[in-house]
């Protein structure tokens, strides 16, 4: 683990603040005595400051019967604290402006605000209050349970999200990534207040949280403010079950040995195809090459899938591939929305493109374009202050280290055509295939 001791904070405080320029250095990193990790970047930002709080409270740490508890807990936390009720809290959050964004991914729950620099103290205090002192009122839970159940059903009403969900559950028979983010109707119906209280006490702890501040605020000032605001966090360690996950998840998500298929009928206008392959963790040395391979296959309008399925055959409006950075082994997922009568043609075309990438290395020019795309999107996404605060914190939380945010471009630039073919052969072999749509006429 790389971290800067607290002494560094003093040194930085004495040093001249970094000049506000386009070439911004990496964020300053502190690990506080409580275990809380803090990142700060001073940037010219039109008087704004973004605060991102990332918590390792997400499907990855949910127990088997707890699917959906991360989002349900998050939503009930927003309904009131021990100090103020729902109405008060909602008004306080809104009056921060730039409404609080609370999002959950497979590995993390993110709480982000963008505020004028003069309001950063109130924003931090309010965020800390929501995170450390939720009231978990039984009536709030019941209201949110209803909201969650409706959202779950709404998602199932949409063939796109349903197809991806089905492919994921085929791909991860034992790993917690199997859990849909919102859970299942069965688990969400059964979660109790005690479950939520225990979940919160276990995972909303200093060692499981990274706070990141970016904007017009000197870094040492930012860390002092964070330290003060979050002094009430619990410092307890994560349960052994979760700590062990890093070493056992290879066994939980073992490499498939054959293709698996599932089809679900839904009377919709379009059909959706999702094809998922088991990839690797962001910490794995093959991650950059697999990211480039996924981009060659389905990243953007120049990609093979877009060109073959949409531009040459005109089979789909939406077609592409993604491969996220995750703490555990992430999936390379190909998706396409197609006319129900052309499902098999589109699926055939998608699988052919994968086979082709396995059969021969892509041209250097194609790999170079994919590398530039990955690096360019990375840069462009950092234009938004909220993302600027988010990324290093996220890489830190998923175990790659906050510096990974600055290393991605360099790692990706070294990927060769031979690397792309090698990882395609290794990982893009036995897919989980899900099709959702009406019975073909």
């Amino acid at each position: 683990m790389r971290w800067v001791a607290l002494v560094a904070a003093v040194l930085v405080a004495l040093a001249r603040p970094a000049p506000a320029s386009q070439e911004v250095g990496e964020p300053v990193f502190w690990r506080l005595r409580s275990g809380l990790r803090v990142l700060a970047q001073e940037l010219p930002a039109a008087g704004l400051v973004a605060v991102a709080v990332l918590v390792g409270a997400a499907p990855r740490v949910e127990g088997p019967s707890q699917a959906g508890i991360s989002i349900l807990t998050r939503e009930v936390m927003l309904q009131g604290t021990t100090r103020r009720g729902g109405q008060d809290l909602a008004e306080a959050l809104d009056s921060l402006g730039a409404s609080l964004r609370a999002l959950t991914g497979p590995d993390h729950t993110e709480w982000t605000v963008l505020v004028p620099a003069e309001h950063v103290d109130q924003a931090l205090e309010l965020l800390a209050e929501v995170l450390t002192s939720p009231r978990f009122a039984p009536e709030d839970l019941e209201a949110q349970r209803r909201v969650s159940l409706v959202r779950l059903r709404q998602q199932r009403d949409q063939p796109q999200s349903r197809a991806v969900e089905l492919a994921q559950s085929l791909l991860y028979p034992y790993h917690p990534y199997r859990n849909p983010l919102l859970g299942t109707p069965e688990t969400v119906a059964r979660l109790t207040r005690e479950d939520l209280v225990r979940y919160h006490a276990t995972f909303y702890t200093a060692p499981n949280i990274v706070v990141s501040v970016a904007g017009e605020l000197p870094a040492p000032v930012a860390v002092a403010k964070v330290q003060r605001a979050f002094s009430d966090l619990r410092t307890s360690d994560l349960p052994a079950r979760v700590k062990l996950l890093d070493s056992v998840e290879g066994a939980l998500a073992h490499r498939p040995t054959r293709r698996r298929d599932v089809r679900e009928t839904q009377q919709t206008a379009g059909a959706w195809v999702a094809v998922a392959y088991l990839g690797v963790s962001v910490r794995h040395p093959d991650w950059p090459a697999l990211r480039v391979a996924a981009t060659v296959l389905g990243g953007g309008m120049a990609s093979r899938l877009f060109q073959a399925v949409r531009e040459r055959e005109g089979l789909a409006y939406a077609v592409g591939a993604g491969f996220p950075a995750q703490r555990g082994p992430a999936a390379v997922t190909l998706t396409a929305g197609v006319d129900p009568s052309t499902v098999d043609r589109a699926l055939g075309a998608m699988l052919r493109e994968v086979e082709d990438l396995r059969a021969r290395p892509p041209a250097l020019e194609e790999v170079a374009r994919a590398r530039r795309r990955v690096a360019g999107l990375h840069l462009l996404d950092h234009e938004d202050l909220r993302r600027r605060a988010f990324y290093p914190a996220w890489y830190e939380l998923v175990g790659a280290g906050y510096r990974f945010d600055r290393q991605v471009t360099e790692l990706v630039s070294r990927v060769t055509p031979a690397d792309v073919q090698r990882v395609a052969r290794r990982y893009l072999e036995h897919p989980a295939v899900a099709v959702v749509g009406p019975v073909a006429p």
Binding site: A20, Q22, L43, P44, A46, G47, L48, Q87, L89, A90, E91, L93, D94, S95, G97, A98, S99, L100, P116, A143, R146, V147, L149, V150, R151, R153, Q154, R156, D157, P159, Q160, E216, Q266, Q267, T268, A269, G270, G300, M301, A302, F306, R310, E311, R312, G314, L315, A316, Y317, A318, G337, V338, D339, A368, R369, R372, R373, A375, G376, L380, E383
Partner: protein, 437 residues
């Protein structure tokens, strides 16, 4: 129409967005070239990116009925080749620059944008200019793209929340072109010919109908010079924008219900509101935030959190050239929308009685202003805001928008609530589960 929604928030905060001692003042330049093309350049000091965003004064409102969907179809064809570039070349070039491109069509405009690292500005502008002026409409490409457009229509249809709002416009309007879906119908998209698309493109894509916005880490003076060099020689006359027939006021409740293979009931209710030229629209923007935006909004708290008649709720009001709808939409676990609809109407009556409290007004304005500022801190948000203003209102619009919002009073909000939200005259659409549980 890849991004289907019309932009809601449109303003540019010149200077106001800057803290004391912060970054340099952004430089904003505006110039109309001799051929009629408008160039707007906003320099955002320190931005690593640049967005080049071309706004064309044409949308679905400008289509005759039988060509409904033509504006959107043309949008799809623009990146499908020119004399100099083949069908896949645009994407390859933009992505080689490390950037991305997209486009969207709405009632009143179509726009195309390329976002690239600031160093690649000139190349991005060149690509966009070629597409705008020289689209080829290769007949084989038109046929391929037709399937893609139809597929996009299915995607909208399969998303009940989006579909309900489309259907609401069809139900609420009788003569105005906003009644037609932006992307057209399956029938019109199947029928439209290549020649009709080319005719539509030639009639509307000329320098007098285009505003090119450059926002980001490029000096404003240089942005204008490059735009002049690239597009200053473009000549093509355009037809004047047709005047749309005035929609008579809603005279009763108009209802449409559709049964689907879904589990959740989705509903949308709409009232005709003020257009962008009408001063009332600032008060309606504030009202919409007070009622439906943020966790503390009145109707979110009352209908979702307290009475629990809906499980999702949104209130929206697009800014448009002609009067658009104030839309209340949501999802409910009830098999039908009737309980939610009645509850919304009760809220409407209460609102017309007493209006908003001072706190509610303050919360709404604070949130609205913060969202505008957040939107404007990226090159893409700034470009979209400037381009929209120049195309649908005028450039002054974004310079004054926030001042106009700040000036809205409780009394004005009460007046617009009484003027536009009539509990006896509105349109309502529901998408219900086929088998009631």
């Amino acid at each position: 129409m890849r991004r289907s929604t019309v932009l809601f928030l449109l303003a540019f905060l010149l200077g106001g967005a800057l803290g004391p001692g912060g970054a340099q003042e952004p430089v904003l330049l505006h110039e109309v070239l001799p051929n009629g093309l408008r160039v707007v350049a906003a320099e955002l000091a320190g931005s690593p990116a640049v967005t080049v965003d071309a706004w064309v004064r044409v949308g679905s409102r400008d289509e005759p009925d039988e060509l409904n969907g033509a504006a959107h179809f043309v949008e799809h064809m623009l990146f499908k080749g020119t004399r100099r570039r083949g069908p896949g070349d645009f994407a390859r070039e933009v992505e080689s620059l490390g950037g991305w491109a997209n486009a969207s069509t709405a009632w009143d405009y179509t726009h195309y944008y390329v976002v690239v690292p600031a160093g690649a500005f000139r190349e991005a502008l060149d690509i966009l200019a070629d597409a705008l002026a020289n689209a080829a409409f290769d007949p084989r490409e038109v046929e391929r793209e037709r399937t893609v457009v139809l597929q996009e229509l299915s995607l909208i249809r399969d998303t009940p929340a989006r579909y309900a709002v489309f259907k609401l416009y069809e139900t609420a309007y009788t003569v105005h072109p906003y009644r037609r879906p932006v992307g057209g119908s399956v029938e019109t998209v199947r029928r439209v010919t290549r020649d009709q698309l080319v005719g539509f493109y030639r009639a509307h894509y000329g320098p007098r109908n285009v505003t090119v916005v450059v926002a980001g880490g490029v000096p404003a003076r240089r942005a204008v010079e490059e735009a002049r060099r690239t597009l200053g020689g473009w000549r093509r006359p355009v037809v004047p924008r047709p005047v749309a027939p005035r929609e008579p006021p809603l005279d009763r409740v108009r209802r449409a219900v559709e049964l689907r293979d879904v589990q959740v009931t989705t509903f949308a209710m709409g009232w005709v509101g003020p257009d962008v030229r009408d001063e009332d629209h600032y008060a309606v923007d504030v009202l919409v935030y007070a009622l439906g935006r943020g966790r503390g909004a009145r109707w979110v708290r009352n209908l979702r959190d307290r009475r629990r008649v809906v499980q999702a709720l949104s209130v929206s009001f697009p800014t448009a050239k002609d009067p658009p709808l104030v839309v209340v939409s949501g999802a409910t676990q009830d098999p039908e929308e009737s309980r939610a609809e009645r509850a919304v109407l009760e809220e409407v009556r209460e609102l017309r009685e007493r209006g908003l409290s001072e706190d509610e007004l303050h919360r709404a304005k604070t949130l609205l202003e913060a969202e505008v500022r957040a939107e404007l801190h990226t090159s893409r948000g700034t470009a979209a805001s400037l381009g929209f203003a120049a195309t649908v209102a005028d450039l002054d619009y974004h310079g004054t928008y926030l001042d106009n919002v700040r000036a809205v009073t409780r009394d004005q909000v009460l007046q617009v609530a009484r003027r536009y939200l009539d509990p006896e005259r509105y349109a309502v659409v529901a998408v219900r589960p086929r088998r009631n549980p």
